[in-house]
Amino acid sequence: MITMEQVTSIVQIKGIRDGLLATFSDAAWEDQRTALILQIDEKPAFFQGARLAMDVGNQVLKVNDLVELRDQLSERNVALWAVISESPMTEQTSQLLGLATRISKPRPEEQRSFADTISDETALFISKTIRSGTRIEYPGNIVIIGDVNPGAEVIAEGNVVVWGRVRGVIHAGAKGNRNAFICALDLSANQLRIADEVSAMLKPQKDPRPEIASINEAGKLQAELWNVS
């Protein structure tokens, strides 16, 4: 059994602009979860209707861990809206569950410039269709095997490659990299963005072909046939 003193050392809860932030220190996930719930049950009136963000450090969390905790919280009328994590796995899981992975106050390491973070070797690899309401963010390149459906958003500080159809919104070079590109087998997106250039809506094509979008010499966003030669 955990004592109340241990509880507050495992999970620290403080107020931030967007509600409450629970910061977890190193411990097993079960203990962290119990500690959080214990703190809430201690002062139910205080937590009533609260919006909670969690900073889980480098803890690797699975879908079930997050879903279970979210349900436990919602039974106490606490809404979990964000999970901040150093683990890309946890970050991706949270994004797929529709949770935010950044809160308004950026962490210090997120203030790096894009030049440091984009390395040609690293990419977030997702092999599934990105559906409406899902937002994928990554401080590097993103490769998707699957479609990007209308209502989905994919935001990369580097390049975005989609082996499938793009009907949603894609933003490459999100931190200002004008050399970033977007390519897809069928690029009929609602909207494409590279750095701060925004494309007009692209018409769906009868006979789609692989295309690559980039910023041309005139400084405009343009799409052309993707010729890999």
Partner: protein, 265 residues
């Protein structure tokens, strides 16, 4: 017996979730199965109306959860099919009166002596939706051939995938073959192309559905209705039978007779 728990959901409202639940449950009961329907739309209940059981409600699901009655007491037996039951929603409470673990507990209690438990999910993707999918063994997503309904269905499929609820099946409701032919409506192919999930049935637009809902007599009991036939086929597929898809283009039967009479074509 161990029941299969099936949740019917859609994201968008008004696409025919409740109609689908009432019809599938009735069709399963007509095939001799023991079926329990649960109305998951706490605060906006209407499955009881569509099933024609409104006047019989004494206890509801919130009474069961809060211990005011036994589960059996809240199960309303259908007038026509004694093997079909409804557990109604509470009308004077909200979604927070039920939690996902309550739904799991109730479904586990029902599993031992029924063949199917069918849960009618509320619209949206919030608490009520999460309650409805908590206990599901299988999820049916209902959509209409409309861009907005399909986008909401896509969102729901995304959540089901993220929460590892297994592969949902699609019911495409209110398809009008004539409009599709004239390129005025999304076709079944367009919808499937975007959602990329398995199709379990296409229900054609049929005014008898509305008439049946208002009368509290689901359209599956009408042997001539095309929509009724479509729901009967889906019920067979839920029982694991391989039923070929209806040919919606064939202009035979009642529908074309009406069209000929009124001069529409």
């Amino acid at each position: 017996m161990t029941a299969q728990v099936i949740t019917v959901t859609s994201g968008k409202g008004g696409v025919g979730k409740t109609t689908a639940v009432a019809n599938l449950a009735t069709a399963l009961a007509m095939d001799g199965k023991r079926v329990v329907c649960i109305d998951g739309d706490i605060g906006l209940r209407n499955l009881d109306v569509v099933m024609g059981l409104e006047n019989r409600i004494v206890y509801d699901i919130v009474d069961v959860i809060e211990g005011r009655c036994k589960l059996k007491q809240a199960m309303i037996r259908d007038k026509k099919y004694p093997e079909m039951y409804l557990i109604p929603a509470a009308q004077t409470r909200d979604k927070n009166a039920v939690s996902p673990s309550d739904m799991v507990r109730i479904c586990n209690d029902l599993k031992s002596d029924s063949d199917f438990v069918i849960i009618d999910s509320p619209a949206g993707i919030e608490r009520g939706f999460r309650n409805a999918i908590a206990a599901a063994d299988r999820v049916l997503v209902v959509t209409n051939p409309e861009v907005s309904a399909v986008r909401d269905a896509d969102r729901v499929v995304g959540i089901l995938e993220a929460e590892e609820k297994g592969n949902p099946s699609l019911i495409l409701n209110r398809l009008n073959p004539t409009l599709v032919k004239n390129n005025d409506m999304l076709s079944a192919e367009d919808v499937l192309d975007l959602l990329g999930i398995q199709l379990i049935g296409i229900v054609p637009e049929d005014e008898n559905v509305i008439i049946g809902s208002n009368k509290g007599a689901p359209v599956v009991t009408d042997a001539k209705s095309r929509a009724g036939q479509a729901f009967r086929n889906i019920a067979k597929r839920l029982q694991g039978q391989d039923v070929p898809f209806m040919d919606l283009d064939s202009q035979s039967g009642l529908w074309s007779a009406i069209q000929k009479l009124t001069g529409r074509k």
